[in-house]
Homo-oligomer: 88 residues x 2
DNA sequence: ATTATTTATCGTTAATTGACGATGAACGAT
DNA sequence: ATCGTTCATCGTCAATTAACGATAAATAAT
C-alpha cells in the first residue's frame, strides 16, 4: 500500500459517521444502504455519499443486486490496513 | 477512546505528508520542526500547521525548549489506536 | 542591546467537504 | 405498463482544509 492509498483510508475513516458505518458493516457483515440510513440521523443522499467515500478508499465494497446495493468491508484491505498500523 | 477522538486521529493521518511526518517521528523518536521542514517540499508555515493538526489529534506531542519545539509520537495514544484497529 | 534562529500565528486564496433536497436510473411487483 | 422501492448523482450552500507569505514571539548568541 502506498502512502496515498493509506491516506485515503485514513481520510475515509476521519469522520465519526463513517467510522460507525464501518463498525456496523463489520458486525452485520453485509447490509444495504437503506438499513444504514435508518440508523443515522442523516438523509439518504448524505449516507450514500459517505458510502461512496468509503468505497473509493477501498475499505468497503458494494455489490449491486437489483435496485439494492449490498455493502461490506473488504477484509483483505482491512487486513492490509491492520498490518500497516501494527508495523507503524 | 470515543468515536470522535478516533475520527480526529484518522483525519489527522488522512494526509500523505502527515503520515510521513508520523513515520519519521517514530523512526527518529524526536525532532524539531525545522528538521521536518527540510525533508518536505513545503513551507515552514505549512509544516507547522500539519504538526498542529497532529498535536490536536493527540497522536503527536510537542515539548517547547527555548526557541525550538521537540515533537514526538505519543506512544500511549498510538498504542490505544493500534488496539482499536486490532479489535475492529 | 542587537541580531539571528526557531516556531507559531494571521490573513488570504483556491479547493474540498458535509449536508441537503430534488431528480434520475434500475429494478420488482402489481 | 404503471407504480413503488432503492440507490446514486446533481446542484447548492456554508464550512473547512491546504497551501502560502508575512509577521510576531521567544530565546540564544554576539
Amino acid at each position: 500500500m502506498t502512502t496515498e492509498q493509506l491516506a485515503k483510508i485514513f481520510k475515509a475513516l476521519g469522520h465519526p459517521t463513517r467510522i460507525k458505518i464501518v463498525e456496523h458493516l463489520i458486525h452485520i457483515n453485509t447490509c444495504v444502504c437503506g438499513e444504514i440510513v435508518n440508523i443515522f440521523p442523516f438523509s439518504q443522499s448524505t449516507i450514500s455519499q459517505h458510502l461512496k467515500i468509503l468505497k473509493e478508499s477501498g475499505i468497503v465494497c458494494g455489490e449491486v443486486d437489483g435496485p439494492k446495493t449490498y455493502f461490506c468491508v473488504d477484509k483483505s484491505v482491512l487486513e492490509q490496513f491492520r498490518q500497516y498500523i501494527k508495523t507503524l
